[in-house]
Each structure stands twice: as structure tokens, then as C-alpha cells.
């Protein structure tokens, strides 16, 4: 039984709304996004399967412990630093993008840096906690938010303004040559498993096959929702004009008899905790990996130096990156991440096999 594994994957599926995945998919809707999504599903599942089954050969060990088995210390350092850079930027993009969303939709008069300070304070508290506590926090937050997000998605599906014809129209472009950018964006939904490199420490027991079955079903549904619901509401031609397709879609829903008629505020409220948790998970992984690169025990001083680097980079990011620029960067970041992910999974898989043999 591994619900924790599912939580990690589910978190990435939920957060893709913030990290421009729908925007990228919708941008390439006539130029290969549909095929890209269809290709991304087997890639995502295969990577999930390969990586997590390999990792379960090292029960309750994270990557730093596994790499310490290596003879060459420098090789381990390169490996860990490379991975931790990707994880840190993943959290950073989510953070900058969500701060932009919050200032845009909830509080335009509030300075971004003040909002960032509050976020960073909470983040530093969470990412320094032991891995198992981070996991429990993730469970609680998903438990509180996922049913309500599922309700919003249900309301979107049952809305009379949802145009299935527009969705089908995009579906008819299935034979367009798949675009790499779309594939990279779509695989992001599945890449939550990579957090296992640290969270494997708290996962007990083996992963059963039905774990992957659930991930397949959830992933397909999630990609369909992410990609097609904004198109159903804003049109096959019109959805690409939106900067945040899902937030505008949430604003197009109406709950007549709820205390708040506009769904957008509920949506942002749920996503506030979900994105906080997603950034914490990514940064917790980054922090733990970085700790693994130091020889010997990590003292307080080193710890705070690392955290202050995190802080400085996010301040620079928030000051210099606006939403449009961030969007452009994210497209290439997603492609880089896909390549890197493939590399890590393959190297790890073959290394583990040789070691076992």
C-alpha cells in the first residue's frame, strides 16, 4: 500500500495549472499538442514505472544514501548538484508564477516582495522539517483541498456553456506532427514520482501494479481536463489568448447558491495551499540533496547559507521576471527537465542493474 507515492504524483498533476502547462498545450493545439499529449502519457507512465521499481530495490533510502555507496565522491556531487538545481528551479517557477497570480487577482496594491517574504517564511519552516513530517503535511493539505478542486472540475464539466464542439474541433487536429514543447509540458503532469529520490526514505513496502494503474487513469483524466476544459469555455480559437487559461476558466464558473458566487476566489484559495506544498516538496528535495553533497554532518551555519541562497534567488526572480518572460523561460525549462529526467532515470536504472548483477 503506497498512498504516499500517489500523493507525490497527484501533487504535480494539480500544480501544472500554475506552471503554464495548459497555456503551452493550448498554444500548440493545432500544431501537435493533441498527439503530444497522447505520446506523453506512455512516456510518463514508463518513466514512473522504471524509476520507482528501481528505487524500491533500496528500501527506505534516499539518493544521497545510495550515492554514498559509490567509490567516487565527486561523481556523486555532480549528480546531486545537477538534480538539485532542477528541483530548485521547479519550485522557483511555481513560486514566481503563483506570486504573480496572487498579486494580479487578489491584491494588486500589495508589493510582490512582501508577499514573497510571507511565502518564504512559511517555506523555510516546512522544508527544514524531517522528511516524514513533510509527507504528513502533504497528506493533510491534499485531503482538505482535493475534494473541493474535484467539485470545481465537476462544476466545469456539467456547465451548459462548456462547448464540446470546440473541444472536438481541437481533437480533429490529432494527426498534426507532435510538438516537442507540448510533449515536455504534458509529461510534467507525471513527473511527481521523481520526488521519490528523497521521499523514498519514508516509503515502506513495494509498489504494486495497481499504483501505476491509478496513475494512468488519473493522468489521462488530468491531462484531458487541463487541456480541454479551457478550450470548451473559451473556444478553440479564443483560449490561446488567455495568459492563465485555468484561472479565467474558474472565473467563468458560477455557483449561484454558494456564499461566494465567483469560483475564482475559491479556486485561488485552494491553490494557495497546494502550490505552497508543491514548492515545499521541491525545495525540500533540493535542500536534502544539497545536504548530501557535504561531507560529514551539516551544521546550522551551512544550512542557513543554503536557505539564504534560496531566498536571494527567489527575490531576484520575483523582481526581474514578469509573467510573459517567465512563460517563455518555462517552455524551455520544461524541455530541459524532460531531457534531464530521462537521463537520470536511465543512468539510475542501468547502474542499479549492474550493481544488482
Amino acid at each position: 500500500m503506497n498512498r504516499y507515492f500517489l500523493y507525490l504524483v497527484l501533487l504535480n498533476m494539480l500544480i501544472n495549472v500554475i506552471i503554464f502547462v495548459p497555456k503551452i498545450l493550448i498554444e500548440y493545439r493545432y500544431d501537435g499538442a493533441v498527439m503530444g499529449v497522447l505520446i506523453a502519457i506512455p512516456i510518463g507512465i514508463a518513466l514512473n514505472y522504471l524509476f520507482s521499481t528501481t528505487l524500491t530495490k533500496f528500501p527506505q533510502q534516499g539518493l544521497p544514501e545510495i550515492i554514498s555507496l559509490l567509490k567516487h565522491h565527486w561523481f556523486g556531487v555532480v549528480h546531486l548538484v545537477g538534480i538539485q538545481l532542477v528541483w530548485f528551479t521547479a519550485g522557483l517557477i511555481t513560486l514566481i508564477s503563483f506570486i504573480d497570480i496572487l498579486t494580479r487577482f487578489i491584491n494588486p496594491e500589495m508589493p510582490k516582495l512582501l508577499l514573497l517574504t510571507i511565502f518564504l517564511a512559511a517555506l523555510f519552516l516546512i522544508i527544514q522539517m524531517p522528511t516524514d513530517r513533510v509527507m504528513y503535511l502533504l497528506e493533510i493539505i491534499l485531503f482538505l483541498n482535493t475534494p473541493l478542486i474535484a467539485f470545481i472540475i465537476f462544476k466545469a464539466f456539467s456547465n451548459e456553456y462548456l462547448s464540446w464542439d470546440s473541444m472536438l474541433e481541437v481533437g480533429t487536429h490529432i494527426w498534426a506532427w507532435p510538438s516537442l514543447k507540448a510533449i515536455a509540458a504534458a509529461t510534467y503532469c507525471f513527473s511527481g514520482y521523481t520526488n521519490l529520490i528523497i521521499f523514498n526514505r519514508v516509503i515502506k513496502g513495494k509498489l504494486k501494479l495497481w499504483n501505476f494503474f491509478i496513475i494512468t487513469v488519473l493522468g489521462v483524466f488530468n491531462l484531458f481536463t487541463t487541456f480541454f476544459i479551457p478550450i470548451g469555455f473559451h473556444g478553440s480559437d479564443g483560449a490561446q489568448e488567455l495568459l492563465y487559461p485555468w484561472i479565467t476558466t474558474a472565473d467563468s464558473l458560477r455557483l449561484v447558491y454558494s456564499p461566494i458566487e465567483r469560483v475564482i476566489f475559491l479556486f485561488l484559495m485552494f491553490y494557495m495551499s497546494i502550490s505552497l506544498m508543491s514548492i515545499s516538496i521541491h525545495w525540500h528535495v533540493a535542500l536534502e540533496l544539497l545536504k548530501g553533497t557535504f561531507r560529514g554532518k551539516v551544521n546550522m551555519k551551512k544550512n542557513w547559507i543554503v536557505l539564504s541562497f534560496f531566498g536571494v534567488f527567489s527575490v531576484i526572480g520575483v523582481i526581474y521576471l514578469n509573467a510573459l518572460l517567465l512563460n517563455k523561460i518555462t517552455v524551455y525549462w520544461l524541455i530541459g527537465r524532460l531531457g534531464f529526467e530521462l537521463l537520470v532515470v536511465c543512468i539510475f536504472f542501468f547502474w542499479a542493474r549492474r550493481r544488482a548483477a
Binding site: I118, L125, S163, L168, I174, R254, R262, M300
Partner: protein
């Protein structure tokens, strides 16, 4: 954590939450809420538009009906107008409760006003679920109407446009996001309800059909009802059917419309429209015996088919597509030039309408 123990740290986090103020540093009593927005063409022609904002004047007591204030400004664009209105009020203008947007008929008949429509969609603080409508004789006159039953400013307008208050097949309400969707999507065109401002009440029973830039056609009430059937938005209605000297009225409670675009090879394409109506007998001019009921059903089928076909042809002649036949064609064809094909097909396509009417009940009287 040596130098900063955990509890102290937690306290800092909790205290920093106090820095978050809900209303962006401006309290609710320093905000002036816009409830509806009206845009007219400027008659004096010194500027292009006349933008009017209807503000709700907040009131401490619940007993007295709330007052409102309308402030208008002439400007060449929406944003200029709003900036100038800001200089006329003492509080911060807040659009988050603006739930109705009224455009005047002259404005929508004119080309080149897409900037206005996009302004609403671009602003982050205007709800995408606000209603858009056409105002007659002018948007400002619509905003000025104050029905007796209204307790909150513009609430009567919200209730009649939404389905919360009165439900009628003659009202075809339209949300802002859906209007934007229809303005861009190839193969489906916008439809906006027309509000007639009367003394002390509104009359909403007509509809204006747009192409991608401006209003082309207005439909009278009966045709609005039929269009509503075709869009499957409202099912309760009454239909008058005359057979010989007897006139009966059917109160429908279920109307279902399906259409299919048939493109047989080598033959002219046509659109098959199936309408099925279920309803009660509500009023007759003469006594209708039970056996004759099916005759009236046949007569009703004939007359509804004819009405549906007439309106479909009328819309087709104007080269408009409020129902979305073009989009349906695009969504069922895999080739990339399906839209170009459809533009050739649509002006000459034939409609085959089939109606099935079922009178289920004759009320309390046999």
C-alpha cells in the same frame, strides 16, 4: 535551530500573516462599488463613447432601499473614461461587483468596437460571469430604470437576465466569457439580449444577432423564443397553434433539439433538425375533444417546423450562425481547410426540419 528556536520562528510566521489585509490596503468603506456599466456612442461627437458607471451607495440600514448614483464621462476609450470618472468620485472604484454590461444599440450596430469588448475581458477585476446586453434606447436609460421591486441597485436587471428570478424563453442571457468566445470562435456568432428601458421596468424579449464585429439582425419576440429552443437554453414556453377556427396554446415543459449536418457525396448537403416538444394544453378558444388532440399535435408539428425553418433561413440569409452549425462542421471534419469549405457550403445549405409534438396533459379540464 540554535539561534532561532522553532516557536519563535512560528510566531514570526503567524505575525507576518497580520500584514495581509484583505482589501488591498483600502477598507470597504473607502470603496465605491460599480454594479453595472453602460456604454453609449457620444451623440455630440466630440468624443467617441459615453461611458456610464452605476454605483451602489452603501447604506447602513437594511430597511430603506439602497440608493445609487450614475456617473458618465465622454472619452475615446474605456480606460480613459474610467480614469476620468475616478476624478469625479471620492472613493476607489471597485469593479468586482459589476455584474451587468449594457451596450447601446447604436454602438453595437457600428463596426470597430472590438476594443471595448476586449477591455472587459482583459480587466482582471471584471467578472467573466457578468451579463452583457444591448440597451434600448440607450445604455444610460437602461441604467437609470429603477423598478419598484428593486431593493439593491441593478438587482432587477441581474434577476431578469439570470435564471434566479424570472425564467422566460424570450430572455436569452449571455455571459461575458461566452460573448468573447463567440466573437472569436470561427463557426459560432454572438447573440445578445435587447433590453428596452420602460418607465419603471425593463422589457427583455428581443435579441440581436452579431457577426464577428457588429450587430446585423434583430429578432422579434416569437423568433427569439424559437432560437432559444434551438440553443436548448430554456424549455418552458407557450406556443399558439391554430387549426381551422380553433386556437390552442401549448405550455411546453420539455423541448429538445438536435441537429446533424449531412453531406452526402455528389448531392447537395443539408442540415437535419429534429425538434421534440412535450407539453400541456393550457388554453383553447373552443372545446377540444380528447380524440381530436392528435390532430392538434399534427397541426402543431407543422406550424413549429415552419417557424423553425423560417428563422433558420432568415439567419442563413444574413450569413450569421448563432447556433454553431459551422463549429459543428469543423469539429466533425479532420481536414485543415474545413472552415473554408463551410463558408462555401453554408449560404446554400438546405434545412430539413422535423418536429414531434406530444400533448401529455390537458390540465384539470378534460
Amino acid at each position: 535551530m540554535n539561534f532561532l528556536n522553532k516557536w519563535k520562528y512560528l510566531m514570526i510566521v503567524v505575525m507576518s500573516v497580520l500584514l495581509l489585509t484583505s482589501c488591498g490596503f483600502k477598507d470597504i468603506d473607502k470603496r465605491y462599488f460599480v454594479v453595472s456599466i453602460g456604454v453609449d456612442l457620444d451623440k455630440t461627437n466630440s468624443k467617441r463613447y459615453l461611458v456610464s458607471l452605476k454605483f451602489a451607495v452603501s447604506n447602513a440600514s437594511k430597511e430603506t432601499p439602497t440608493e445609487f448614483q450614475i456617473i458618465s464621462e465622454k472619452a475615446n476609450s474605456m480606460s480613459e473614461a474610467v480614469r476620468m470618472i475616478k476624478t469625479k468620485v471620492d472613493k476607489e472604484i471597485d469593479f468586482s461587483h459589476a455584474k451587468a454590461i449594457v451596450l447601446s444599440e447604436e454602438l453595437v450596430r457600428e463596426k470597430g468596437n472590438a476594443g471595448i469588448y476586449y477591455w472587459f475581458a482583459r480587466r482582471r477585476d471584471i467578472q467573466k460571469i457578468s451579463w452583457v446586453a444591448i440597451g434600448r434606447p440607450s445604455a444610460l436609460k437602461v441604467l437609470k430604470v429603477k423598478p419598484k421591486s428593486e431593493r439593491i441597485p441593478s438587482n432587477a436587471l441581474f434577476l431578469s437576465l439570470g435564471k434566479d428570478g424570472s425564467e422566460s424563453p424570450y430572455v436569452m442571457s449571455e455571459f461575458l466569457f461566452d460573448m468573447k468566445y463567440r466573437l472569436i470562435e470561427r463557426g459560432i456568432d454572438p447573440v445578445l439580449p435587447i433590453i428596452d428601458a420602460k418607465k419603471g421596468f425593463f422589457e427583455i424579449n428581443k435579441v440581436g444577432l452579431f457577426n464577428k464585429s457588429h450587430m446585423i439582425l434583430t429578432l422579434p419576440p416569437e423568433e427569439t423564443k424559437i432560437l432559444n429552443f434551438l440553443r436548448r437554453r430554456e424549455e418552458k414556453s407557450s406556443n399558439k397553434i391554430t387549426r381551422g377556427k380553433t386556437t390552442i396554446v401549448i405550455d411546453t415543459h420539455k423541448v429538445n433539439t438536435k441537429y446533424k449536418i449531412v453531406t452526402p457525396k455528389g448531392k447537395a448537403p443539408f442540415i437535419k433538425v429534429n425538434v421534440s416538444v412535450e407539453g400541456n394544453l393550457e388554453e383553447t378558444t373552443k372545446r377540444v375533444p380528447k380524440e381530436k388532440l392528435s390532430d392538434f399535435e399534427r397541426a402543431a408539428e407543422k406550424s413549429i417546423s415552419k417557424e423553425v425553418k423560417n428563422i433558420l433561413v432568415k439567419i442563413q440569409k444574413a450569413n450569421l450562425d448563432p447556433i454553431g452549425f459551422g463549429l459543428r462542421y469543423r469539429s466533425r471534419h479532420f481536414n485543415n481547410d474545413d472552415w473554408e469549405q463551410w463558408k462555401q457550403i453554408y449560404p446554400t445549405i438546405a434545412f430539413k426540419v422535423q418536429t414531434k409534438v406530444q400533448i401529455e396533459d390537458t390540465g384539470l379540464i378534460e
